[in-house]
């Protein structure tokens, strides 16, 4: 029995169609929405953190390595990207406190993004050698410690000519169009999906399910964990570079542990082990925290002039964290569990239901 091309790939084709529709929507927003629209800032963040969350999911969800070093790798990526893309003539003014920038050339966006990933990956390689032998919580602590060390080191005056010390870096190239962000994140996520569904992805899942059995089946734990860690960090570095683009300024103080926690919460809300879940969750998380729930921060008055109780600066985050706790406590599998979106199955179910009703 030979399967036809359509039979074999129907799910992938339908999902591809969905991606194209979404991309078209992004381009439409880019062209049509007024420049003051919240869509711009929110979508930039969504794409950035969708990539960060998916890369965290590759490590935490698919390989079962509980790492909390994301902020550190994003910082490395952000700094690398920012340092490499400042126009040469502006370097003196950015690095004015340290004489001059150590680097005196400017890279185009794509190579700079790759460098961002590679720098993060190289650090992951170095830190991974000793740290990946540790078990669950200890690994989490060690990677968290690593992220804090990176953050501490970057701020040092001694590295000033390279990192601008504690001062923020700005004036680097940051694309305006949101479809560029969509394209970068989309390409990276596609690569991650391809990896997860390859023979390596199966080996990662085997390690997650049962380390001892995986090892007995000939999967070298050290090298596969290392591979997953490096790959995840590579994409984390690119997500960091995208964050630099979003904010058009990079400062080490923003890459705190709570940023890692945020990404972790996105992963959890989406479902640990679901890539489409992470993407949906990134959208819901940032759209609601930056946009839909913004009204909670404003002091609002009713028509009668009475102040609506509780509303005021900071209330949004309280509501938001309560919502997160509800998800964590009562909807533990998240939006998607370990499933993935399948447009084909969705419609197939829809039509079969209708067919059933007609009978």
């Amino acid at each position: 029995m030979k399967e036809t091309f359509w039979e074999k790939n129907k799910r992938a084709i339908c999902n591809l169609a969905l991606v194209l529709v979404l991309l078209a929507a992004v381009i439409a927003i880019d062209l049509l929405a007024p420049t003051t629209s919240m869509w711009f800032s929110v979508l930039r963040k969504v794409f950035t953190f969708a990539l960060a969350a998916v890369s965290m999911n590759l490590l935490n969800g698919f390989t079962g390595l509980f790492s909390l070093g994301q902020a550190g790798f994003m910082l490395l990526g952000a700094y690398t990207y920012a340092i490499f893309t400042i126009p040469v003539e502006l370097r003196a003014s950015v690095f004015r406190n340290y004489g001059a920038s150590l680097i005196q050339f400017q890279m185009p966006i794509v190579p700079a993004l790759l460098c961002a990933g590679i720098v993060a990956a190289v650090f992951a390689f170095l830190i991974g050698l000793p740290v990946l032998r540790l078990k669950s919580d200890y690994l989490a602590i060690a990677t968290l410690g690593f992220a804090e060390i990176v953050r501490g080191l970057v701020q040092l005056q001694n590295f000033g000519p390279l990192t601008n010390g504690p001062d923020p870096i700005n004036k680097f190239t940051a694309p305006e169009h949101i479809w560029i962000y969509a394209l970068i994140a989309g390409t990276c996520i596609l690569l991650i999906i391809l990896i997860v569904n390859s023979t390596y992805g199966r080996a990662f899942k085997a390690i997650r399910d049962d380390e001892i059995a995986a090892e007995a089946m000939g999967i070298n734990l050290a090298s596969h964990k290392q591979l997953s860690f490096i790959t995840s960090s590579f994409f984390c570095g690119i997500a960091g570079a995208m964050l630099a683009m979003c904010n058009s300024s990079v400062s080490s103080v923003s890459f705190t542990t709570s940023m890692t926690y945020q990404i972790l919460l996105v992963v959890v809300i989406g479902g640990i082990g679901s890539i489409s879940g992470s993407m949906i969750a990134a959208f819901i998380y940032y759209a609601s925290s930056e946009w839909w729930l913004k009204f909670l921060d404003l002091e609002t008055y009713t028509a009668a002039g009475a102040r609506v109780p509780l509303l005021g600066p900071g209330f949004r985050m309280v509501v938001f964290s309560v919502l997160i706790m509800i998800v964590v406590l009562f909807f533990r599998t998240g939006i998607m569990g370990t499933r993935e979106i399948s447009v084909y199955d969705f419609f197939a179910k829809l039509f079969s239901k209708k067919g059933g009703a007609a009978k």
Binding site: L194, S198, T199, D210, E215, A216, M217
Partner: protein, 282 residues
């Protein structure tokens, strides 16, 4: 027997935890195409011995060869130097400890006493994953699907293997949703997918009823023929052991007390004593 090449040769294996000598100077050979069983009363040190010669634990002293290649060697170190109570101290000078994945690559595959399947995967993927170790692709070629030929071949082989062991009809079910007996079978199939020369079975009939045990022994005989295997197993079910083994090693308190064919073992007085106990005051 001795004309046949020796697949596994364990020499003077001792395994000591603190002051307890769990395995004491155990020497055993497994020849090509043999089914060898390691038996003994509860707590005799079977599983420890099994783990020590298969690379899960590092033995305290002794060495193991697999198909002529030395895969494990150790001698008492550190605190153990003083504490060591086994024999052949000083005969082994090197430390060779290959991780289990290396041993599997060399051609030793095992199953576990308490089934360890990949829980989130389907039956098919469980077996397919065991093909990973024979890959020629790297992360890039695999991600970009440049290894599609290899992938297709692995999928085809996996399907064939599942058909052979009679699990093809449940291939898309979650591994953990299978009934117990089939999970055992799947674990063996997964081990077979690594193309082993030597198959190590750790209590394959544990938790099975008599009917299932009979089926299992038929299954083991069948796969041994089909895959040209050598098998080493630990087992409690004497019927199974006596049915399928060519030779049996019996250990008690970590020491070998008898070795021979099933018939020899069945009539060996020391074995009977070890299993039934000897009354002290008689």
């Amino acid at each position: 027997m001795s004309e046949r090449p020796c697949v596994l040769h364990a020499e003077n294996i001792s395994m000591q935890f603190g002051g307890v000598l769990a395995v004491h100077d155990l020497t055993m050979d497994v020849y090509e195409h043999e089914v060898v069983a390691l038996i003994g009363p509860n707590g005799a040190g079977k599983t420890t011995a099994f783990n020590a010669i298969t690379g899960v634990y590092e033995p305290t002293n002794g060495a193991v060869w697999f198909c002529g290649e030395k895969i494990i060697e150790n001698h008492p170190q550190g605190k153990m130097k003083k504490l060591y109570a086994g024999g052949h101290n000083g005969e082994y000078r090197h430390v060779i400890a290959k991780t289990p994945d290396r041993l599997t690559k060399l051609g030793m595959a095992r199953t576990f006493q308490n089934i360890r399947l990949f829980k989130s995967m389907t039956v098919f993927d469980n077996v397919l994953t065991a093909k990973h170790l024979r890959r020629t692709s790297n992360l890039f070629t695999a991600a970009l699907r440049l290894n599609y030929k290899e992938e297709a071949r692995q999928r085809k082989e996996t399907l064939e293997l599942l058909e052979l062991v009679g699990l093809a009809d449940v291939k898309d079910e979650l591994a953990t949703s299978l009934p117990y007996g089939k999970q055992r079978k799947l674990e063996i199939a997964r081990a077979l997918a690594t193309n082993p020369k030597l198959l190590l079975l750790d209590e394959p009939a544990a938790g099975m009823n008599p009917q299932e045990t009979v089926e299992l022994s038929e299954f083991i005989v069948e796969i041994r023929k089909k895959f040209d295997l050598t098998i080493l197993l630990i087992e409690h079910h004497m019927n199974l052991v006596m049915d399928i083994s060519d030779r049996i090693y019996v250990i008690d308190f970590g020491k070998e007390i008898a070795a021979g064919t099933p018939a020899e073992i069945q009539s060996n007085q020391r074995v009977i004593d070890a299993y039934l106990g000897v009354a002290d005051d008689e």
